[in-house]
């Protein structure tokens, strides 16, 4: 044999450890979603699923609700938001008055792919405490049904 048998549990463990370390320090290019963004991007998105709905949470603090542009086409959800953080301070803001400027300003657009199971005609959205919550219903036939299996 040319190399240690990786099926051996010990070597498996080492291999796993090595992988974990590499992932931790981002040494390898990780497998990521084609539309994923770098850490600290704006707005950040989480997606969850219940038996009835797919729920999208968009972290978008301090946005004027009229500057939120949400569209859904087939299974693609497009979110456009715009914010000007200088306006939060007031009028006549001079840039040299800033000690720190960490909050992101600008115009942003993100497109996310949702599961094929969604019904694009059944969407509702709300804006609560700076989070846009989009609830999309699933197609009737896709709603997970509990099937009881009889055990003989």
């Amino acid at each position: 044999m040319l190399w240690f048998d990786l099926a051996d549990p010990i070597w498996n463990e080492f291999d796993k450890m090595q992988k974990e370390i590499e992932e931790l320090f981002d040494l390898t290019a990780p497998l990521s979603n084609i539309r994923s963004v770098a850490r600290g991007s704006f707005p950040l998105i989480n997606i969850g699923e219940t038996p009835e709905n797919v729920i999208v949470y968009i972290l978008a603090p301090g946005i004027d609700p009229s500057k939120i542009d949400l569209t859904i086409e087939k299974n693609l959800l497009t979110i456009g938001v715009e914010r000007d953080t200088t306006k939060d301070i007031g009028d006549n803001v001079s840039i040299d008055g800033y000690h720190r400027r960490e909050r992101i300003s600008g115009k942003f657009k993100r497109i996310i792919s949702l599961p094929e199971t969604i019904d694009p005609n059944n969407v509702k959205a709300e804006y609560k405490n700076g989070i846009i919550i989009v609830t999309i219903g699933k197609k009737e036939e896709e709603k997970s049904k509990k099937i009881k299996v009889a055990i003989e």
Partner: protein, 133 residues
């Protein structure tokens, strides 16, 4: 005796389990800090925090901002794509004596905290004498 010890060990185990279940993940909110002649303005992005979950304290010269994120995710929801996580925000700053702590104003709107820290009417200039030996 041995039984008692076992019992204590068990209780400690269950406490540890409880603590890990309620693990707190603290996020550092991004801030803008702006200063003009009258005031310092602090803006912090704290999406998910409502008025009830917000706690602002000043102790001596330390301003602490703490916000608990309201749980908005239904219990039967499973994550399918995740870019953020955490259950509270916390950040602290030291402030100088020129800030009039009794007139600090706080306002929370759409997940953005705005703190206005006015400067005291009379900020007495302090003269430093340099002695030449």
């Amino acid at each position: 005796m041995a039984d008692k010890r076992k019992e204590i060990a068990k209780r400690e185990d269950s406490n540890i389990a409880k603590e890990t279940a309620k693990k707190v993940r603290t996020l550092v909110p991004p801030v803008d800090i702006y200063e003009d002649n009258e005031k310092i303005v602090l803006l912090a992005d704290m999406p998910g925090v409502s008025k009830d979950g917000l706690d602002i304290q000043i102790e001596k010269n330390v301003l602490s901002i703490n916000g608990k994120i309201e749980n908005i995710v239904p219990e039967d929801a499973k994550p399918i794509y995740v870019e953020f996580g955490g259950n509270e925000y916390a950040r602290s700053f030291t402030i100088g004596p020129e800030v009039d702590v009794n007139r600090i104003q706080a306002n929370l709107n759409a997940g953005v905290l705005k703190l206005i820290l006015p400067k005291a009417e009379e900020v007495k200039p302090k003269k430093i004498e340099v002695k030449v030996a």
